[in-house]
Symmetry: C2
Subunit: 202 residues, 2 copies
């Protein structure tokens, strides 16, 4: 019924699938994302959807990739021009806070990476590896700025960058839970206070 689209339209179709996949997966998880539901939402056939990716696992990986592009645009890029060290770190963390606060725009059901990390942490496979790789990359970036802050004297010389990065990630896991499960409007402010304490007592 539906004819072939131009190359540009084809890419747009692929992007539409990924956008919808990210939205569904943020609510129901990457495993709860089904091809039939996706096809129905997009007014396509299941074969038309799956044809773009081949397998469901490839679709999950594409969705994860699309979500990480959103995360980069909202969190990393706005802070890219800030001065390395505590300044850039602060910009990243504030953007991270806002990303979770207003995620109902980007991710209607909460941070997709948190969801995916819980969903796949006890299994093997390419999706688990991809999620673990993302978290490792982001943690390294936090550690890098923390190290710069220590070297430049912005943080005490006794501060342990790995330990601080670990505590910061905990604060954002707590924020995601407080927003999604508890719907606690005070959570973003609480997180800012937690972050300030972690960095002040480094």
């Amino acid at each position: 019924m539906s004819p072939r689209k131009s190359v540009a339209e084809t890419r747009r179709t692929r992007e539409r699938i990924i956008d919808r996949s990210v939205a569904i997966a943020s609510v129901d998880g990457l495993e709860g994302l089904t091809i039939g539901r996706l096809a129905a939402d997009l007014g396509m056939s299941k074969a038309g959807v799956l044809g773009h990716f081949g397998t469901k696992e490839a679709l999950q990986l594409a969705a994860l990739d699309g979500a990480s592009a959103i995360f980069a645009r909202l969190v990393w890029e706005p802070a890219a021009d800030a001065a390395p060290g505590l300044t850039r770190l602060g910009a990243v963390l504030e953007a991270w806070n806002r990303y979770l606060e207003t995620e109902r725009g980007a991710f209607p059901g909460g941070c997709l990476f948190t969801t995916a990390s819980i969903e796949f942490d006890a299994r093997g496979g390419a999706v688990r590896d991809a999620v673990a790789r993302l978290y490792r990359l982001w943690r390294r970036r936090l550690v890098a700025d923390l190290r710069i802050a220590v070297d430049s004297g912005e943080l005490a010389a006794t501060a342990d960058p790995e330990q601080l990065a670990y505590e910061l990630i905990g604060a954002y896991l707590a924020l995601n839970q407080a927003i999604q499960l508890e719907r606690d409007p005070a959570a973003p402010e609480r997180t800012r206070r937690a972050v300030a304490r972690i960095l002040a007592t480094g």
Copy 2:
């Protein structure tokens, strides 16, 4: 084929189903827990399994209940006799740490409550409500001991119990992720340091 069992045996069958459900759900989530898989694992028919609960949602709630009994036995009860305040809180937190550390015994795939909270936080329903209620209860217990610690002078009068409880929960969310996703053997020790810092700077 299989005949009726005595009352005691019947209860044991129910407990076997719940135990297996907890193990499966800790790996695959409460949604990934399926009646067919459960029946196959237990050498029963699907109807025999479901007959004990009626619906899958009731089974999920029973599994959650069974898991919270395990959590109570491992975390709350050992600390029940400690002196209220910082002493009891410290005992609870250390037990919590060990519970996540050695959860491969109780929960082979990581803390079931963390998994369930992520899995259901963006949906409605009885399971979501039950998970939220459990977290609220546990948070209240942490806050209660923190408040006692403030009142008795163990913690600074300026310390905010709600804020500290929030940060403590974040530390344990980070611990679960570090163990399950990163398989980081240093995580328990890092968590102990994080907890000590949270309480020291309260």
